[in-house]
């Protein structure tokens, strides 16, 4: 974000001309108004609620830091945090890399490419219920497709969704599969911004496809890589639907993610204050990670 600054006197209001500020206000007006009306109030309210005990019916009772203190001793909360971190660390890089390769492949002018691109997008648009149903069958230990396939390779059948050690990897695979089309779309759009003549020049210089990819595509895609990385982390830390629909946090809390625990606390066990505290701890974690990313982006993101 430092690209527009040529001068070190940034930060003082007088550095900006009135015209610049007015233009900025003009373009940012809808966003700012929306933030104030729809976001600021609710965030302040729910933040305050995190310091109370509120069972949705009746008045909130002030607890001070009570909820936060309780959370640090809550083994389920810690478990959900670990599960969520595990999920993020594996699924985000995997998803971004695979979808990039996919996008490059889909960027060709092959015959029928429209069909292929649509096919890869299908899992993203299908509802979680249908996907959960299908993967429930794929992962079924007795009748499932996956055990059938690994059986052909001579491996013993696994209890994918029933084994606490395998349940999260199983969910991760399903999530990555579902999200490929979405990331692929964004990569495709970004690939359009890379001028053809750069590749031409490289080809003339004798670079092969792999070298072109590494030296032209990847660096020029870095803004998008950054985008998907940040969005991926923010999104994965809030993973909810997959475990809510497929495993409900089981078996033995192996797939209990933070937002699932938070949602259950709020809407199933009526512990609204406790859940709000969880939300803000989560937000803080994500914020810190994101800020670190922004600090280091200059090292690898080129605009």
């Amino acid at each position: 974000m430092k690209e527009n600054i040529k001068n070190k006197n940034v930060g003082t209001l007088s550095f900006y001309s009135k015209q610049e500020i007015l233009w900025a206000l003009f373009f940012l007006a809808p966003y700012l108004v929306g933030l104030i009306i729809f976001w600021l109030g609710p965030v302040i309210a729910s933040f305050l609620i995190s310091f109370t005990k509120w069972e949705l019916v009746g008045k909130p009772i002030w607890l001070g830091l009570g909820n936060y203190r309780q959370l640090f001793n809550d083994e389920l909360f810690i478990k959900s945090l670990i599960n969520t971190a595990y999920y993020t660390i594996v699924s985000v890089p995997l998803g971004i890399t695979l979808s990039l390769l996919l996008a490059v492949a889909m960027n060709q002018k092959l015959k029928g490419i429209v069909f292929y691109r649509t096919a890869f997008f299908m899992p993203h648009i299908s509802s979680m219920v249908a996907i959960a149903l299908l993967w429930g069958w794929i992962y079924n230990s007795q009748y499932g497709l996956l055990n059938y396939l690994i059986g052909l390779l001579g491996l013993p059948p696994q209890n994918w969704l029933g084994n606490p050690k395998l349940a999260m990897p199983a969910l991760i695979i399903m999530s990555v599969w579902k999200g490929l089309g979405y990331n692929m779309m964004i990569w495709l759009a970004a690939l359009q911004g890379i001028p053809e003549d750069l590749y031409e020049a490289a080809r003339i210089d004798g670079a092969n496809k792999w070298q072109q990819f590494r030296n032209i595509t990847v660096p020029l895609l870095s803004p998008t890589t950054f985008l998907l990385l940040i969005l991926g982390i923010i999104g994965s830390f809030q993973v909810f639907e997959q475990s809510y629909v497929m495993t409900k946090g089981g078996p033995a809390h192996a797939t209990l993610t933070l937002v699932l625990y938070m949602y259950s606390s709020a809407f199933e066990w009526l512990k609204m204050g406790y859940a709000s505290a969880m939300a803000y701890i989560l937000a803080l974690i994500i914020l810190v990670i994101t800020l670190i990313q922004f600090k280091y982006q200059n090292k690898w993101v080129h605009y």
Binding site: S127, M185, M262, Y280
Partner: protein, 279 residues
């Protein structure tokens, strides 16, 4: 000579093979949905699962569609999704342009704030937002579902900002020399060159609006105002889910999205020649 050609042929065929296999794995849930929708309800759960139904029945689609006012639900979904998409495109492109090209104080702080809005799980702010919507008199109307889109979304702003920032600054400079103000630069240069990004954002926003369930459920009371997703949720009953209805209904609800995606493809995949600046 011939050797090189066969090698090329083999490479292309192999490439086709891989992406076809890949595409097939993607399409399986869709095939399964079609299979379930065409089955007699009692046959859905034979063990092991059967892909091709015997006999093939077409009545599930009609049953699903006529069980509740689905035509009305679809119109509502279209209205909400289209308005939401337009709103997002306008407000996010404005904000993204500001962050990408304009200079103003507290830019970093504001951008971080925008990102921060994505970091708080929506379920937690749901109740206070509901109170606000009630206060605005929007309870049991469609307004809470699309009006907020006209006020920007963090995702859309971030996405477009990245794309805008990747456009070369020389374009701006050339336009400034011609005497354009920021608004003119925005719609003369940025918008036309961002068609892929805008198309992508448009499709993704439409999709998320079309598929959203919790928001419409919370804000709507009168059944005539319900959206398509709420209609489909009715198929998941108290003790069991009627999959023949749910799958056939879901298939019908996928059609507009698939069509939108196919049509939008024209925009996301167009090479732009960025050499030589068009005046």
């Amino acid at each position: 000579m011939a050797h090189k050609n066969t090698l090329k042929f083999l490479k292309t065929s192999l490439a086709y093979l891989f992406i076809t296999l890949g595409a097939l794995t993607m399409v399986i849930p869709f095939l399964w949905m079609i299979s379930t929708a065409l089955k007699e309800p009692g046959q859905i759960f034979s063990m092991p699962p059967v892909l091709i139904p015997k006999p093939i029945v077409r009545t599930n689609f009609v049953r699903a569609w006529s069980s509740l006012p689905f035509g009305l639900f679809s119109m509502n979904s279209f209205k909400v999704s289209i308005l939401g998409t337009v709103g997002t495109l306008v407000s996010c492109s404005w904000a993204a342009y500001a962050f990408a090209r304009l200079r103003f104080p507290f830019k970093n702080v504001l951008f971080t704030l925008i990102l921060a809005t994505m970091m708080i799980p929506g379920q937690i702010t749901m109740i206070p937002v509901f109170v606000i919507m009630k206060y605005l008199g929007w309870y049991d109307t469609h307004f809470p579902l699309w009006v907020p889109h006209f006020f920007g979304s963090a995702f859309g702003t971030f996405l477009l900002r990245q794309f805008f920032m990747a456009l070369p600054a020389e374009l701006d400079d050339a336009a400034k020399i011609d005497g354009c103000n920021p608004l003119q630069i925005y719609y003369k240069i940025f918008l036309p060159l961002s068609k892929p990004a805008l198309a992508t954002l448009g499709v993704l926003t439409f999709l998320s609006s079309w598929n959203s369930l919790l928001g419409p459920v919370i804000y709507l009371k009168t059944i005539e105002k319900f959206t398509l997703m709420i209609g489909l949720a009715f198929f998941q009953g108290q003790y069991y889910t009627d999959y023949s209805l749910l799958m056939s209904g879901s298939l019908i609800s996928l059609i507009p999205i698939v069509l939108l995606y196919i049509v939008a493809q024209k925009y996301f995949v167009q090479g732009i020649a960025l050499t030589g600046i068009k005046g």
